[in-house]
Symmetry: C2
Subunit: 217 residues, 2 copies
């Protein structure tokens, strides 16, 4: 029984990046199990479903205190809720998108983010001709960003501007106090920004190149 | 001098996933160096730029034969060309996009893929109302896919359909002979498809969750 240890463990343990990368996938599978009406699951059943070894699952979850009970397995709802909390999904996060091109607009139109607590408030662009305040999620001029951030709490800024503008854009929004950057530009922003800023990259072209490599070999 | 070993080494060595993941980033940095007119670079200079240790760089590149010369470093153009070849970028690859929603259209409008040899030929959608053959990259009905693939060589299909349709869509296109899947749907397609099909995932919501985790901790 180590169901309640997670509170203490969370703060004093450094969890590896690869474990963190797997958490959203646990969360997804557990959410599907809930939808299918499954109430509890053993690590070996979860292992079959997720194609990860049962010992890997136990090890991963032990980083946060375990959550399982010998001979019972995992309570699906409880585990999903805990992993959700570890991922910070129990607190809604507000997002803005800098760059109202095709990708920025596509992201703003995607409904899946809000379902998980990520709410897109607005897009911003330096191109005045893109300004459109009649959309469900409005597009404002970059000039308005400062005022907007005074009136709204924003946790995450997605950067979908062209590569050559990404670094300057990131510096501007970090100076305005944003701590989370979801970077779609083909640039490594981390070395340019203060340590307390979190950068998460989605490098589409690099993903395609990896696919290309695997097709060739 | 081990500049010419890569040809032999490529086929008989299993390269780790993490090394493969780093190759596109090497390629990007080398391309920038070329643009800046740099002709040769030492692994320690490259290391400073990329924030990877010099020994990591040497180790990574040794997987493919090395490419460097003691006391000289790397010839930037040569190395970029070789890594490009390893990534399969010297052969143009044709792509189609299944799902002409916001994300599918955004991907089709992005010019960066073609620059690296990934050419989007067409989009397909089951929704007839989305058909638009007057766009630069046309949108066809899914009914036309079979004929299209008889007339065109397609290496990669990007899947941008809603989650619940992704598995069936993937099976259809794999049955039609496509070997490379660039999957944007929130589903693990690999276990459902034959071993010779390569799946590369872009899970946007999982990327956001990872960002959320790092913001919280």
């Amino acid at each position: 029984m180590n169901m309640d240890k997670w509170g203490e463990n969370l703060s004093d343990k450094k969890v590896s990046k690869t474990v963190i990368k797997r958490l959203p996938r646990y969360y997804r599978y557990l959410s599907e199990l809930i939808k299918d009406g499954v109430e509890r699951i053993s690590s070996s059943e979860l292992s079959d479903k997720m194609q990860v070894t049962a010992s890997q699952i136990r090890q991963d979850l032990n980083n946060f205190g375990g959550f399982g009970q010998q001979g019972y397995g995992y309570n699906v709802k409880y585990l999903q809720c805990k992993i959700g909390a570890i991922l910070g999904l129990n607190q809604e996060k507000n997002m803005i998108i800098i760059g109202a091109g095709n990708l920025g607009k596509a992201l703003s139109n995607y409904s899946g983010f809000e379902k998980h607590g990520f709410k897109t408030l607005a897009l911003f662009d330096i191109d005045e001709s893109k300004v459109d305040t009649k959309r469900p999620i409005p597009i404002y001029s970059m000039d308005k960003l400062d005022d907007f951030l005074k009136e709204n709490t924003v946790n995450i800024a997605a950067i979908t501007v062209p590569k050559d503008y990404a670094a300057d854009t990131a510096k501007v929004i970090v100076d305005l106090g944003i701590k989370g950057i979801w970077n779609f530009a083909q640039v490594d922003l981390d070395p340019l920004l203060p340590d307390d800023v979190v950068v998460q990259n989605v490098h589409l072209i690099e993903s395609l190149m990896e696919l290309s490599y695997n097709l060739e070999h």
